[in-house]
Each structure stands twice: as C-alpha cells, then as structure tokens.
Symmetry: C2
C-alpha cells in the first residue's frame, strides 16, 4: 500500500512517537537503566554491554554500489530493513551514524532516513541531539588551545615548531571562510602567528577515535596518541606530550555512551558517532554496534559511501579492531544508479533503459565480487523508485542469481516495514546460511605499500599503485613513528571504483596514485590520500536556513 506523499519532516511530525521507555521495553530494558534526554532520547550506559550476546549476535552490514551524488539510500534501507525484520518477528535494532549539523543549514539536509523509513525525533537527531558532536568539537579544540598555549608559554614549553602542526580546529558548520586562516595575530599577548584552519567536526580525528574506542582507558590511550606535529628538533609531538588525553576524555564522558531513539514504527535505533567516510572509517561507534548486539538479536548497521570505501573499511578496520563479524551484507542498489553506471546523464536517471541497467550492472557486480572476497555473500536490495520498471528489476534479479545472490525490491521509503519484509526474509536466510569464515582482506602487520596494493587491486580493480615522492618519504617516516602496523583508511572519491570520479561503471586498466599520507595515529589508521578531500563544506548561495521557521510553540518547519 502506497502512503500519501509528504515531506520527511511532515511524516516525522505526524508519527505517533512513543516514550523511549516503551522502546527500551522491547529490548527488556527497564526505564531506570536509561539516561534520559527528554522523553524520546536516551543514553545507554556502557554497563549494559554484554560480551556473550555480542559474540552470538546477528550483525548485518548495509553497504551500497557506487552512488550517484544524491546517495542510494543506505540509511533509509537500514531503517526500513529493521522495521521489516521486526515485522517478521526478529528482535532488531538499527545502529546508525549521527548526522552533522553543517549540511542541515546547507544543501543536503539532515540524515535520519527518509519517507516512511526514518528515525525520530528527526529535528533533535538533526540538530544538537544529545551533544556528542559538540563534545567532540570541544575535545578537539581544547587540544588546539593547548598546542598554541604551549607554543606561547615560556615555561612548560615543548619546543613545537608551529610550521609543522597538522592538528586543525573543528566546527560543525558549513563555513568555507574558516578553511584556511591565520591565527595568533595582534601582538605578543595573542600568541605566535601561524597558519591554521577549521575542518567540519565529522572530519576530526577525535570523532574517529570515539568511534574506535572500546572503553575509557582505550579512549584515553588513543587520544594521547594523536600526532600533532614536530619539535624544532624534528621529534614527533603527540597529545600525551601536552598531558591532554585526560581532559579530552573528560569532555567525552557522556559522548562515549550510545544514544537510543526510535524508528517511525517504534523499533529501537541506536545512533552514535559520525566520522567522515573518506578520511575516516565512516561508520558509527564500535560501542554502539556492540550495544545493539548486547540488547537485541539482530543489528542492522551501515557504513558510508559505496562498498569499496564503507564496507572495505568496516570489514578491514572496524571488524578486525573490535572482533565483530557480520553475518550478512546488504548491497543497496538503485535502478537510477545502475542507469548512471550504464551511461545515463543526470537528466536521464529517471528514463527506463534495460540496456543501460545491464551495462551499469557491472558496477554492482564488482561490489558483489568484492564482498565475496571476505567470505560473505551479499544480498542486493533494490531501493525502489517510481521510475523503476519491471523489466529492469527482472534483469537485475537474473544477473544477481547468476552470481548466486538474492536481489530483492525494497520499498521502505514508500511503505515502511510493510515494504521490507521480503528483504528481511532474504537477510534472515543469508544470516542462517552464513558460515563463520569471514576473513579480512589483509594482515594489519603487512607493509603499508602491500596493504594499499591489496585494496587497490582486489577492491578497486586497479593495476598499479603509484606513490609520489612525498608519499614514499612519508612511508619511511611512518615506520619511524611506528605507524606501519596500522590498517589502511583509504581517502578516495566515492564516485568511482577508481580514483578518477569521472570513471563510472566498472573501470578497468587503470592505476591509482597515492599523492601523500595522513596519520590518524590516535584512531589507529594510516590514510593514503588519493585525491582532493573536502573537510569543510560551504553553504549554497541560498542556504537552507532561509526557508526554516519555528513557531511560538517551538514547532519547526523547513528542516529536511
């Protein structure tokens, strides 16, 4: 049954929202276990983690084919799948990232699902939520203040060379004017002038760290290991040299606890952490995933961008670090994106074309092959759009079947859980059929070059990895900093399997180039930079903020 078409915020505001205690009850959690944030949000104390349940749990990762700029609906599919699984009797929690505030006032809007597959209260989730992003911002910027204060200080001075500082300040705002700035101007009282800049908060390494941390002591250790820059004697300086890690962890004392809200159908949703998917791991916190598994039988979670980035990092970094093992992977595809990879231009995305879908299927096929390399067999979810045709759907299903993969039409956006029971059943089948032989693609202990080559060849389909002179120098330096046994967090365009965003479909006969490296020595990644990475978006000429309103009762409109 198709429901009436309303905007996301209208659907969310019209929904019958349950007290969070009622949602928690579904998981057998009594109200006094929760830390309430109003009636509809709660933080979950870490004492609720249950190692036995975590080990047994059914973890389902939702990833996607290479997306068009609008995205193919991983969040919407994850939420809808959760509704569907609950509908067929599987106790399921969806575990997602928190949206950044910046895009809310810009172009993209929020990120709490869409249509009849949303998490609510969407206004709160899209605005400050429970304050986690602000806490991360403060922890990040406290470290910045301590760095500049140390440079200024005559006693207690670490001899930091201001020209070498790589640690940036952050603000959760689309604000291009802060990308590149000079600070410390105005004379001796105001510090030592130097170049600096602000990134948006999801790009903070503190965000990446919070998402990797297993507990407070792990959090502190990672925070202390943040690399800041060098002394004038070329010695590396870390956050722990500034004795910053305890104060930073204090600022994160509540942010470390996962947040519970609900889906439109009143099922539990845990939303926690939101690191970038290019220069970071692009998935919610380890603690949120483990909390979901501790409290329910199934957990549906997602990782940002296409499977070449999101799933690859989820499986090689997050799973290895935390010991988590997914039992099923859902690859979200849209016929729109398949047409795109088959050669359709943006104005042809809604034009049916079996030929283009067939050509575009090569992109999806590569992602399917990639997931199979981890000894996991994906389920394809065809996120339904009004312009889809039956012939196109059939073709996809037939081609997937040839690869021994189920492809199921997912109607969560239009119908909520009712439109997702078929996908839910396919996922349960995959979970029950799964063999416990998930394996990561590379050994963390392998040389950096080898790990990068493995990802580039196996996942992207590249022939050769070129390393710039700078990148080669940095690889040597990383050995000295003892970063070489860390996993690889590739920073690459999400628009192509290759590092050239214009190459759609399944690129072949191409090389990729590592221009330079960054280190997230606290989070525990080595980040090869394969292209320009945007870390601070701007606002559009007519920002979304102009169309927003709040009435005298605090009811919001114009938020999307």
């Amino acid at each position: 049954m198709e429901k009436k078409h309303l905007s996301d915020i209208e659907i969310a505001q019209a929904a019958e929202i349950r007290h969070i205690d009622t949602v928690a009850e579904k998981l057998g959690l009594s109200a006094e276990k929760l830390e309430h944030y109003g009636k509809y949000k709660a933080k979950l104390p870490l004492s609720l983690l249950n190692e036995e349940k975590i080990a047994q749990g059914n973890l389902v990762l939702v990833s996607a084919m290479t997306p068009t700029p609008a995205g193919e609906g991983k969040t919407t599919t994850s939420i809808g799948l959760t509704e569907g699984l609950n509908k067929i009797g599987k106790q399921t929690t969806v575990v997602l990232r928190e949206p950044s505030l910046g895009p809310v006032f810009g172009m993209k809007g929020g990120a709490a699902g869409g249509g009849y597959s949303q998490v609510i209260p969407m206004e709160d989730i899209n605005l400050h939520f429970t304050g986690d992003f602000s806490a991360i911002e403060k922890a990040n910027n406290l470290l910045s203040a301590l760095i500049d204060n140390n440079i200024q200080s005559k006693t207690n001075n670490l001899n930091i060379d201001p020209r070498t500082i790589v640690w940036k300040r952050v603000m959760d705002m689309n604000d291009r004017a802060l990308r590149q700035i000079t600070i410390g101007l105005g004379g001796t009282a105001n510090g030592i002038p130097r170049e600096d800049g602000f990134n948006i908060t999801p790009a903070s390494e503190v965000m990446a760290i919070l998402c990797m941390a297993e507990n407070f002591s792990d959090l502190k250790e990672r925070l202390g290991n943040i690399f800041i820059g060098y002394t004038f004697d070329k010695e590396p300086v870390f956050a722990k040299d500034l004795k910053a890690e305890n104060a930073m962890a204090i600022l994160l004392k509540d942010a470390i606890k996962p947040n519970m809200v609900q889906t439109l159908e009143g099922n539990p949703a845990i939303i926690h952490g939101g690191p970038f998917a290019n220069i970071a791991q692009g998935t919610n916190t380890v603690l949120a995933t483990k909390m979901g598994l501790s409290l329910s039988d199934y957990v549906v979670t997602e990782a940002g961008f296409g499977a070449d980035l999101g799933a690859e990092k989820f499986l090689n970094i997050k799973c290895v670090s935390s010991g988590l093992k997914p039992k099923a992977v859902v690859l979200v595809a849209t016929i729109r994106a398949l047409r795109h990879h088959g050669g359709a231009k943006a104005d042809e995305y809604n034009t049916a074309s079996v030929a283009r879908v067939e050509e575009g299927f090569k992109n999806l096929a590569k992602h399917i092959e990639n997931i199979q390399k981890f000894n996991l067999n994906p389920v394809v979810a065809i996120n339904a759009f009004p312009s889809d045709t039956e012939d196109e759907v059939k073709l996809i299903q037939q081609k997937c079947a040839e690869m021994n993969v189920d492809a199921v039409v997912a109607k969560g956006w239009a119908q909520g859980g009712e439109g997702m029971t078929d996908l839910a059943k396919a996922v349960v089948t995959a979970v029950e059929a799964h063999t416990d032989d998930f394996k990561p693609l590379y050994d963390w202990k392998a040389p950096i070059r080898e790990k990068i080559e493995t990802i580039a060849r196996e996942i992207y389909g590249a022939d050769v990895v070129d390393f710039s002179k700078k990148a080669k120098l940095q690889m040597n330096r990383m050995e000295k900093l003892c970063l070489h046994e860390m996993p690889i967090c590739m920073a690459k365009t999400q628009k192509s399997l290759s590092d050239n965003e214009l190459r759609y479909g399944r690129p072949e006969n191409f090389d990729v180039s590592v221009r330079e490296f960054e280190y997230a020595s606290g989070a525990g990644f080595v980040i090869p930079i394969l292209g320009q990475m945007m870390r601070m978006p701007g606002l559009p000429a007519k920002p979304a903020s102009e169309g927003m309103a709040i009435d005298d009762n605090g009811v919001i409109s114009g938020l999307s």
Copy 2:
C-alpha cells in the same frame, strides 16, 4: 558545626544526590512535566510559567561589594541562602548562571558554588551541562557563516562591506590564538579574506539575547535585530536581512528552556544562561528567574561582579525589561575585601585589621547607598573566612546598623544551610518589610548621554563623563539606527567603582571616559566601553587540564 575540609569536587562527589524527580516534587512538580537529561538534570518546559505566581513571588537579588580578584562568593552565598531559607520553612529555589567551559581548563575553575554550598552534579554543570552553551555557539556561528557566505555569493548578495563587520565568531574555550585572525584565505573557493576573531561564548550577543527573551517570538525578533555591519552604501545590515533569525532560533529550541538541578541539600536550583557581566547583563535568563518564581515562594538569584555592575544592570535592564521586582537585595561582603579596600596588599588579606576594615567599609557603604537609591534596603552578608575576627565583624555590623542595614555572618561555605539560617531570617524580614516602590534609576527613553551620566554620577560617584570623539560620533549614529531608547549596559572594570582598576575603596573626585560604544541591538543594549574588555581569555602556562583525570568508570578528579 564545622565539617571536614575537602575539595569542592570531593564534597560534591560525596554528597547523596537525589533523583531530579525527588527535587521537583518539593515544588509540586510531577516527573512527567520534566524533560530529563539523565537522572540529575532536567529542562523545564515554558508551559510551566505562571504569571500570577511570578507577580506575587519573593525575588531576592544577591550582589556584592567591589570584589578582589578571587571574587567574594556571591554564588556560594546564593546557594547557602537557599539552603537556609528552606531550612526555616520557606520554599526556595536558587536561580543561577551556567558556567563557561573555558575557565574550567584554565585557572579559575568552574562556577557551581563552593564548599558546602554547591549545586550538583558539579562535573556536569561545569562541563557541557544540557548543551545550552553549545547551542548558543552554533547559533552565533551560523550567523557568521551566513555573513561570509553572503559576501562570497554572486546571487542573493547584500553588498556587505567586509571591513565593517562587527559580528565575531565564538568558542567556549580559553584560546588566545583565536582573538585576532584572518579568514577566507586560500583562493576564490574559500571566500573573501577579511579580519575576524573569536570571543568566548558568554560574550556572544546570542547569549545576552537568550537571557533577555520572554518567549520564542521575542527571541526571534531579538535575533533578527542583531547588528552585523554596513553595506558598501553605508546602510546597516541586521541578521534579519540574512533571514537568519528562524534558523538561529531553531538551534536554540531547547536552550531556551531553563535547567533544573539541585543543591547539596537537595533543594531546587535552576541554572540557565551565562552572559558576561561587563559587556552584557551578567545574570541568568529572564525565563529562569520567572520559572523559579512560578514554581516556588522564594527565588534567590545573583548578578555578576559588584553591585555597581551586576545589581545596576539587573535593576535597570533586566527588571525593567521583564517587569520583575526584587523584594530584597543581599550585598555580599568579605572581611578580606574590606581589608583590601582599606589598603591591604594581597599578602595582607588574611591579616586582621579593624582599622583597614573601617577604611574599607567606605566601599561597602557606597554600594549600600546605591541599592537604597532604587528604594530597596539591602541586607549585608558577611561571607565568613577563617581569618575573620570578632572585632572586625562587630565593626561592620555597627556601621551597617548606622545605615539602617542588617549585617549577618554567612557560613554557607563551611556549614551549608545550617550556617545560613540567620541570614535567611534577615532576608525574610527584609522581604516582609519591603514596600512596593522599587524604581529604576533612569528612564530608558532619556538621551544616551543622560542615562550614562546618571549611572556614572549616582552609582560610581563620578563627577564628569568624558566622551571621546569616536563615542560622540557613535551616539549620533545610534539615533539613526534607533538604538537611543535602549538601556545602558556599562562595560567597566569590576575592580573599582571608578573606571580605573587601581582605585579601591570609595573613589571620589574622578571622571570616567567613554572610549567608544558597541551596540547589542538584538539583546537591546547600548554598551559604552570604559576600558579594555577581555572577551577571549587565554590559558595559563600550566593549564588546569594537565591535572585532570578520568578513570575507567568515568569518575573525574582534578576538576575544581
């Protein structure tokens, strides 16, 4: 009975903390009326405001004599007095400002009272609390991003002259390197380069606005009226020209609601807003004060710095704007500060001297006279210190009696409510004796120059007010901007009744100089600047953050 001496955080952590529902019950509030933030904090919805109770309520303002740099304990006295009033059977709520995060990691430490007169949970109150400061920061910085975005934009452009922008970004951090910066560097994609700077969040006009706002529509109107700068055609530009006020108010949708916590003895405390006391009004939100009055018979509240700043602004700005009328004023004095104003150097503050106290009393006497000019008779609270002597106390009491004023020793820091019943009784006597003829010192509609002269002569004791050439030009401009009917928010040192911080005691035969003006056209103030105003503190050489720790269970130490 003196209790064992422990640090503030040790006392706070050892306290038996009640569920906030239990605290609310004391005010006849049922749990479902609250918006919980964990077990010990709650936001109070504006629907709980009760105009009838507000009009009848017993509002007690706590102010102080001219303070020494350590402060004389207004917050501690306010909390202790609240314990004392509850002890003698008066249902009382203390209403305070929220502390800024910046000083927590610097030198000063937090601001949640001290000793056995504290509000708890002190860690939460001193850290992110319920996120109000972060929300204010975001609203402030969204406006900044919209300004720079508008300058960058080819369509939708207001022709703002970047050289005239007075609106600054804010961050709740002690970070001197951000005081003066250049932004928009790095080429055309990053905006138009210009000078900018960050203030600490309590210095944001958004903070001042939130503290003046009566409701959502008033909030939006004030936000829209924020003055930003000029166009190239020298026309003034306001936030409403950027259509910013709704989006900013949306960011403040929860921050507008007062926060409830508890005192160490389990009495209700409302803590909300925290504007600077120099360039802003230095007192909690109007809504918090009104909420306190709506829910309890007595409200004890405070205003920053000495009575020449805090009480003057409270009475002439906040009370006139909101219609609130205090029924009693407490002037906090310490013998230490009296010795200081009698000529003692910092290392002599703890040395008894009746002669110095007698000389220093002239400062207190002037503040008593000043309060009496509002037709209010103050009660003096002598905030007790171990080095106080009986002779000094007697002298103060005798000299106060000559002015028809009660002076009572206040032992809240050492004893909690038990040490404050005498002061509580004196306050009740003052409230019951009060006549309803409170009057502000000037008419808002008077000319700007006249209003400033009234404050300078009547409150400070100055002879002449000098206006710089710039200030005179600005007074003309303010008439054109229609700001001349706004009240005056003096920006002056708190260390002296004069504008020269070296002149202690009761300065006489002095002039004050208005160097320039600022406008807080949204908050609704004209701000004459009488000296250097610090809006972004720095960290000390050895920041407090270095001594902080958090253990594996999230228990914090080293916070003060």
